[in-house]
Symmetry: C2
Subunit: 356 residues, 2 copies
């Protein structure tokens, strides 16, 4: 029987798992052949739709998937509405669909049920889970282990990282560029290993300043909208901040009206075609009198940011979200500590969520 470790200080598990992410990614890459095989099966299906499903962190990663499949093989990918299939029994033609189901535990009930039903109705079903012996793995036609290793903090980090990397590998493989993506991800792991330490230092100033903040927006556009969703989720579950993810454009269509000096905004800026929209959005935020945090490889492009948390530029622009999420994770860890909260065990949550 394995020895049960003594419980450490609050947030220790979460922080140690954030730090471990470069190694977690490298573990995933040991399964490069599995990814290539599943990517080929996907390509043979020539899917008219990639249907991504997951909740919480896995749903943030699914957002990344819609971009990765859209940009690499040029396929339509959607975060499917689980309730249509699981509750309402909608009768889609799934013969040219592929399903990618994401779940850390592989036990999320409606995700398992969704996979069982769509597989029966003709979809090619793929599971990405940390537990290859889970119900989800049993329900799906193909399973690739996320290989994040045991995640003991209730607030997830390395699971998200490996889900995003896994989706990049599958989409790259489907486009005949699996090797190039794998090499890029290897490069990202190295850059991340060098960036974590300095970022841990850098987040302490905004974490102190934001100790009494109750609400935030997290703004990204394009690929980085996935990052915005995941950072907002971390802030909500570990720091009890009402943090809402928004695209830079949606900000202007209503939510900007709620901003004031007590309502700061976290922005994620990358060097790609969506950057001007994020720069515009940030200007709108400043005009409303709100404090700005700028993160991401293009953090320097955001004018008048009170805090900047840049990350290195990835070898391929499409891999930017792997690096951009790290400042948000580390900030959540630091803010939780400043507020006396425990991200390892947020109130009302457990590691495996069995909510229907």
């Amino acid at each position: 029987m394995a020895a049960v470790p003594e419980p450490g200080p609050p947030g220790e598990l979460f922080l140690s798992e954030v730090r471990e992410q470069p190694q977690a990614i490298l573990r995933l890459l040991e399964h490069e052949k599995d990814f290539a095989a599943v990517a080929q099966a996907l390509a043979e299906r020539a899917p008219t739709a990639i249907r991504l499903v997951g909740h919480g962190t896995s749903d943030s990663a699914a957002t990344y998937g819609t971009y990765a499949f859209g940009l690499l093989p040029g396929w339509t990918a959607l975060r499917d509405t689980i309730s249509l299939t699981v509750y309402y029994g909608a009768t889609f033609d799934l013969s040219s669909s592929a399903v990618i189901a994401l779940s850390q535990s592989g036990r999320t009930p409606d995700v398992v049920e969704y996979v069982a039903r769509t597989r029966k109705r003709g979809a090619l079903t793929v599971a990405l889970t940390n537990d290859p012996d889970s119900e989800l793995a049993a329900a799906a036609e193909a399973t690739i282990p996320l290989s994040a290793g045991p995640e003991r903090s209730v607030a997830a980090s390395k699971t998200y990282m490996n889900e995003v990397a896994a989706l990049a590998l599958l989409a790259g493989g489907a486009a005949g560029r699996g090797k190039k993506l794998a090499d890029g991800i290897r490069g990202v792991a190295e850059l991340m290993a060098g960036a974590v330490g300095p970022l841990e230092q850098a987040v302490s100033a905004p974490a102190m300043a934001f100790t009494y903040v109750g609400r935030m927006y997290v703004i990204g556009r394009g690929l980085e909208f996935a990052t915005a969703r995941e950072v907002a989720l971390k802030l909500t579950e570990t720091c009890r901040v009402a943090a809402e993810p928004l695209t830079a454009t949606d900000l202007a269509h209503g939510p900007v009206a709620a901003l004031d000096s007590l309502f700061p905004v976290w922005t994620i800026a990358s060097h790609d075609e969506s950057l001007p929209a994020v720069v515009d959005g940030a200007a709108r935020v400043r005009k409303a009198g709100a404090t700005l945090v700028a993160s991401g490889p293009a953090a320097a492009e955001i004018e008048d940011a009170a805090y900047r948390l840049p990350v290195p530029s990835p070898p391929l622009p499409i891999l930017s979200p792997l690096l951009s999420v790290v400042p948000g994770q580390l900030f959540a860890a630091a803010l939780a500590r400043a507020k006396g909260l425990d991200p390892d065990h947020p109130e009302g949550l457990s590691k495996v969520t069995l909510a229907r």
Copy 2:
């Protein structure tokens, strides 16, 4: 030249437009033949994907569209990621796609651009807009006027109502049930006309109690997730509340950890297959010590709600969101008044949003 009316008290325009919604719906139904023709064109395309695009209120309505098309003709519909096409130049095969673009003004730049590009690449493009002379109408192959009439409040209400009704008519027509849906919507208009007055009375108690609330969740599942998104948007833009829409299931995957007695939750409950998930979610909210508001036709099923704002049951369950949104709109109007804010002219917003 038309006389310019004297400005009334703050929020008068918004409230009068909420009250006018039953008539707005009836105006839309005058175009039943246009809807039937476009629905037939959609059916002839036999689309593998209905791609819905819009921002703000129009994006909330698009969420309804994913359910309406999924449940009525059984088609896959998605809220497409505009940035993939407009910023990144993704090269989707659009030969079997149809696009439905939603915009009150018909001038939202990236929506207009999206329609121009997807039309050029082979998609069947349909515009739903209040302005049949707009750029959006010019860009699309087919346009159906929303017929909401002039909407002078910056915060939209009847535009949302008519967008949802229009999507129900199109999805119903595509399923060969256009007439049945039109009759159902006529019935809804009548029920709504009778419900608005009593609801205006009923929302005043929670509006007083919530005057100093800074953050809320709005919970729906299935069809009512569209309602949750629209109610959250109204609260954010008219009342400066950080209101986040969540499915009942996603609540359990993280956000529930942020709840406490200062963080109330608005629930939307309808008599359909998703109700048990909403009832479960509400129980989780109460356990976290948060105040519950229950709205929708099945408001009575939510236990321990501090406030109940039921609406009549619609003739067809799929039309429930048309009625369920009304308590949220009226509550937003009342809460804005209690806070001394003006929903007709929220700070930082204008009626036509030209943000890219």
